[in-house]
Symmetry: C2
Subunit: 387 residues, 2 copies
């Protein structure tokens, strides 16, 4: 059900022939109202794909009726012609739905630097519009997959209203959003301002804290559509909490399906003087290829954790290297910047999830950033597959 | 000859038993003068190994007689006891040479978070002191190797004087020095101030622009010893130029021997508004696991170059995404932020060296940062070998 779990939404996923594999590649999500509230958070990469440029403008009034998404091509670095293709996609979708093109958000994912095959794409949009149903969420979630091995969906139930969502993304996962497309829907009654605030609150502590491979995409988009069809108006905090829970579930699902990964690694930094400092230190650890490769080898190499933490500038995170404690899966392998318990007591082969806890002993703030290990399969997928 | 090519130096490399492999693991370089000028550039990582803390203090007066180096253990994150071990190593070396411990620089490389086997190390120092010869440079260069497959040495000849050097480092190569130890010697007559200035000039544009895997070490040390034995006093600029050439040769050798790499990648950014901007954009590209994996797959994936460039904040590098040109091995695959020449014209399988040229069209500054591709063998070496 996913994006069609909340009332007031229809969706569809179809095969337009954009992918060599012949798998579904065009998805459409439509908000039947009564409200057409919308918000979006977009990549902070300065190289932005045409659909990101379009969507930023289209959502700026807080109104959208539909999101059209394609896999099989990112439409990034395609110049004015590529922007024209996105515009034509929005116009075509709008005509099929009888709405304004300015109320259609567009998302694309796939290879950078190639034009989309427009006749096939537009025919797919037509087919998707004809296939729209209130049960179409699952097929939409499948149609946005690229190297994902499973579709990612979520439903968060509240008293009389809900949040549904779907996401894709398995590589190029890094902050300023993981490389990903995500559409969230809710039948809550809310203002555009509340939707925007809820989405920004949610992404800041979820998708922005997934850093699978340190590579920020040109196409990242998280959109939220609100239909108001439940007739229930949650408080802004209640809305934000539900959207955050939905995003957290989807973000965790992205980590669990990251390209080639064999471990999901949660790096939690506590005892920081600010939350930003905690995020910066956690991010440095999640970006260490050496540490990530060590985890792949089931080696609880805490020295690489400290070496990564030490690269964070002092003006970003105040701490003393000789006070840091590090625990891996509950074993305090580093104490006060030096040797702690025997690292042979850490068993990384037992499960997929790895918990790294770094205590800076410099304050009360904390944050968790998720990443994956660096594996042969990651190298293989990203040397063989062009994105 | 390496560090013993300039007059006034003796060196030795011996096997102390620190390495399970039984390979040489202790090196000693001694400056017989008449000058004992010294300078050093040390890691900017905030987690600093005991020998880095010691050497920073020992070199602060611009005087050193000897450098003692061990592979087989980094002596990092070993607390006050580890610092005591470094101190004891300096004292033991000083006693063997009949000099002051404060004039002995110490370097270590190997596994983080383990104490050094001091009886073996001190016996090795004794043996090295007994083995010192004016032809010992090559054996010293071998004794500092870890995962290096070949020793790295250099000699830069000038009129009547020279600069010699040796370096090790094959992983954890990142700025604020590549993970590396390097000892340079010269028989030039120079002041401590000139030596320090020459070394900082040199490292800024050489070792600081090698970024094999984005991981900055706790132990990086580049030391320069000047004996004055040639009786020739070059100008400060002449000295800096010769030291820079020596460092450039050694830095290139480090890239060529990086762990598991199959390509050496030079990312040159031109048309930047400042040199710092050029370095920042080049660094972002050299840190992209996706781009580095693509090069391993012989895929000239310029989209990943742009996606990486786009992560650099605008306050760091002013440029417009829709003006960027990218050439790979001379083929302009991206023009004005969009599709350029056919990328099938780029042959990355032909050779080891890859030239990536990014033109920001935003000014006149330029910089080159070297990196390697991300390969199965990198993952293998760093998941199987603890550092």
């Amino acid at each position: 059900m996913t994006v069609t779990a909340p009332r007031g939404f229809r969706a569809a996923g179809v095969t337009a022939g954009l992918k060599a594999s012949g798998r579904p590649d065009v998805a459409l999500v439509v908000n039947d109202g009564p409200l057409q509230v919308a918000a979006a958070v977009l990549t902070s990469n300065r190289v932005q794909a045409a659909p990101v440029l379009w969507t930023r403008q289209a959502v700026s009034d807080g109104v959208a009726t539909a999101v059209v998404l394609n896999s099989g091509g990112a439409n990034a670095c395609t110049g004015p012609e590529g922007f024209g293709d996105t515009h034509a996609t929005a116009e075509h979708t709008a005509a099929a739905l009888g709405v304004s093109a300015g109320d259609v958000l567009v998302c694309s994912t796939g290879l950078i630097g190639e034009r989309l095959p427009m006749p096939a794409l537009l025919a797919g949009v037509t087919a998707a519009a004809e296939a729209l149903t209130p049960a179409g969420g699952d097929s939409a979630a499948v149609a946005i997959m690229t190297t994902d091995s499973v579709p990612k969906t979520v439903v968060v139930q509240r008293e009389g209203w809900s949040v549904g969502g779907m996401a894709k993304g398995a590589g190029m996962l890094a902050p300023g959003l993981a490389t990903m497309l995500c559409v969230l829907t809710t039948d809550a009654d809310c203002s555009a301002e509340d939707a925007d605030a809820a989405l920004r609150t949610a992404t800041r502590v979820t998708f922005d804290r997934v850093d699978s491979d340190g590579c920020m995409s040109t196409n990242d988009t998280v959109a939220l559509l609100a239909s108001g069809a439940s007739g229930v108006r949650p408080s802004p905090d209640e809305l934000a909490a539900a959207v955050t829970q939905a995003c957290a579930d989807l973000a965790r699902a992205l980590v669990a399906d990251a390209e080639g990964a064999s471990h999901d690694i949660a790096v939690t930094v506590v005892g920081a003087h600010t939350e930003d400092a905690a995020v910066a230190v956690a991010r440095a650890v999640t970006r260490s290829n050496l540490f990530k490769a060590a985890v792949f080898g089931n080696d609880p190499n805490w020295g690489r954790v400290l070496a990564a933490a030490g690269t964070v500038p002092v003006e970003v995170a105040a701490f003393r290297a000789d006070r840091i404690d590090v625990s891996i899966n509950g074993v305090q392998v580093c104490r006060a910047g030096g040797v702690g318990e025997d690292r042979s007591g850490v068993d990384l082969a037992a499960g997929r999830e790895v918990q790294v806890l770094v205590d800076l002993h410099a304050g009360d703030a904390r944050a968790t950033v998720w990443t994956n290990d660096l594996t042969h399969d990651y190298v293989h997928e990203n040397s063989a597959y062009s994105t």
